[in-house]
Symmetry: C2
Subunit: 416 residues, 2 copies
């Protein structure tokens, strides 16, 4: 048993011993100061929020069904919203019934509920390395051991996966197969098949997190993991990237027998997701041009991703490389050898530019050679300005590193 911390009159649970304030949380506080030109947050473009249509939906719901919308609701979620999502998933190639869906408070809550339903202390959880930081945090509160599996431009490398499954006997594999955070890369179809085949053979449940799948602006969508194996996979979705995050509406799709357990946990956790927000989203989806809205979103994000790619081409010194996402919100930049992510972060902040260092996205936090760049939240002009300054910062740090090496000073890259 881990020793428990005492904070004033309160003795904390063992799980709190490793729960530290997120460094990225502190970074984002600096990054989101108004004077900062930030590419740090995982923020959708607020100028594309359908604010007027949302306002109209709230007005209609409160005028026509106000008493129901403000009352307690059922834990599984608002029926018509579950029906809409089931129809949408079915249309996108994943046959789904409303009974397979639980409405959650954003898809982050889906991660938490699935972790609570499936993970005991000491369990192993397979994650792509790097992966979504807040998923790592959610898992860590269940006192599990994270087992990172390396990735490349085609997503998680599945060649060594069978050996990992044999050795670790994991309780869960967590993955964002489409435009993952932080890299923007997707899992190639042959790897999806291989991963699922191994998962079935070794009895490893798969948690597929799909916040960005609807934001594909290039290439062609393949089948989701859940579409390839509905019995082995729990899938998470959200309206945070397609409509707006501030309403906190996401969902879990799972086999009915698992979903009923998740629903009990949902009730114990927070009774149910906001009735008003669920009804307003339902109304919105019934009344406005969702497809047209998504098309606009994809078009703007494609332009911004291209703008960032081209600005990086112009600004970055040799030895820098980055991913070329076909969707989502992020690209992932590899710094020239010898340049440390934290040093870039500090120097960029001093120049009024915010980015996120890459190391917190690695399960063990040891790789200091990357940055995550968000392209969805700024205009092309600001992207151009920002990447220009970032290129200068990286160039200057590179020049300093070269001088240091020439002068025999140790490399500033921290040791693992």
């Amino acid at each position: 048993m881990t020793e428990r911390l005492q904070v004033g009159a309160f003795r904390l649970a063992s799980r709190m011993t490793d729960v530290a304030p997120s460094a990225v949380r502190e970074i984002l506080k600096v990054a989101e100061q108004p004077e900062m030109l930030s590419f740090a947050g995982g923020l959708p473009a607020p100028e594309l929020f359908p604010v007027e249509a949302i306002a109209e939906a709230y007005a209609q719901v409160l005028a026509e069904e106000g008493k129901q919308a403000l009352q307690y609701g059922v834990s599984e979620g608002h029926g018509p919203l579950r029906e809409w999502i089931a129809a949408r998933l079915t249309q996108r190639g994943l046959a789904t019934s409303p009974e397979q869906l639980l409405i959650t408070h954003g898809s982050q809550q889906g991660i938490d509920l699935v972790a609570r339903a499936l993970l005991d202390r000491g369990d192993r959880v397979i994650v792509e390395d790097p992966t979504y930081l807040a998923a790592l945090q959610a898992f860590s509160t269940y006192e599990v051991t994270l087992v990172p599996v390396p990735s490349d431009a085609e997503g998680m490398q599945v060649d060594g996966l069978e050996e990992v499954f044999r050795r670790e006997r994991p309780a869960l594999l967590y993955i964002v197969p489409e435009f993952q955070n932080p890299k923007g890369t997707s899992l190639a179809l042959p790897r999806r098949r291989k991963l699922l085949e191994l998962a079935r053979r070794h009895g490893v449940p798969v948690l597929e997190d799909d916040p960005y799948g609807e934001i594909r602006f290039a290439g062609r969508a393949g089948p989701s993991l859940a579409a390839l194996d509905s019995e082995q996979v729990i899938q998470l979705g959200t309206f945070s990237k397609t409509l707006a995050p501030g309403m906190r509406i996401g969902w879990v799709r799972a086999p009915v027998e698992v979903l009923s357990r998740l629903t009990i946990l949902k009730q114990a956790t927070d009774l149910h997701t906001s009735t008003l927000n669920q009804r307003a989203v339902t109304r919105l989806l019934a009344t406005f041009d969702y497809e047209g809205h998504l098309e606009k979103l994809r078009k703007v994000y494609r332009v911004r991703a291209d703008a960032m790619d081209q600005a990086l081409c112009r600004a970055m010194p040799p030895g820098t490389s980055w991913t070329h996402p076909e969707g989502g919100l992020f690209l992932w930049l590899q710094l020239p050898a010898g340049i440390v992510d934290d040093a870039v972060f500090q120097a960029a902040i001093a120049r009024g530019i915010a980015v996120v260092p890459g190391h917190p996205f690695f399960a063990r936090g040891l790789d200091h050679g990357h940055l995550r760049l968000n392209f969805s939240n700024r205009s092309e002009a600001l992207i151009d300005t920002g990447m220009g300054i970032l290129g200068e910062v990286v160039g200057e740090l590179g020049a300093a590193a070269s001088r240091a090496v020439v002068q025999g000073v140790a490399s500033p890259r921290p040791r693992p």
Copy 2:
């Protein structure tokens, strides 16, 4: 280690072994059917929701700060809302700074986050017997042992508490001191002092759940537990009973060092509470007559509580007794000896009346002699009708029980 259940491809965590569908959840599904005259739910009166003022607040927020209200927000909650709540608590006698407050997704989430921060598997949690059912459920997902302490008309009996503390060495004491659910009783002031003195001496943290404190319609408020000892107590609050539950806005008040840990857990759980709902509530509180609204609410609830009391006087057979709450939503009825809560539930449902059997509110579920009655959700006329029928049902079951005793048939009350 508990054996883990396998559900299809998914092996569940040990904590799920004892997580069963809530019987009350199923009861409420029956009770809330439209043709049913229900006193079962814990529902505030929807005709008193300030629907128009809420609609105006959403309209204003979306018109004037739509982009911010629909974007991601900080985990601790919207600053101006924390400031408003801090000022309100201070005004009510509990000096509070915004830094001591975390905005949660209803106060149920506060119970869950505090449990996650403080409870290890196997810990002991002291609860009043009976107490709020969904708190019992939340604690049970942390695999703790519940230690029930009996209560009477003045709340938890504190005379034996020191021995319980010595024997059990509890990690937490959970209590609803004002108009508790299901009984409607409050903890007397001398007991509050005694409880806190013992808690301090034995190092037992106290979780004070206060959803109903603002709904006092008779008698005079005493100091809350947190007001008596701010360092030993975490207090939960909510707008679910004062404004409306459908927006899911509650809060945790804790010492700053504990609050910072709860905020990290909040982030891992669901990032943050709906930005839009937080800003709309902030706007509402700044623009409408909250005090006047509360006065109206208290007045209506007092009339309904009185109506229920009087209707029960008229309708109930001898041997029945009930509590006389000075606030909140519920009263608690003790059935005549030999009459079982489930039998009353079934017979009442057959007559179109829904109530909640009392046994699920007891930590061990063994006392079958009570009903919980909600008085806030129906008009005086319907309360009169409903209690009349309920009185007939109880009278008939009592007559049947007497005949059975006379004829030598075993009492239908289940054995513990």
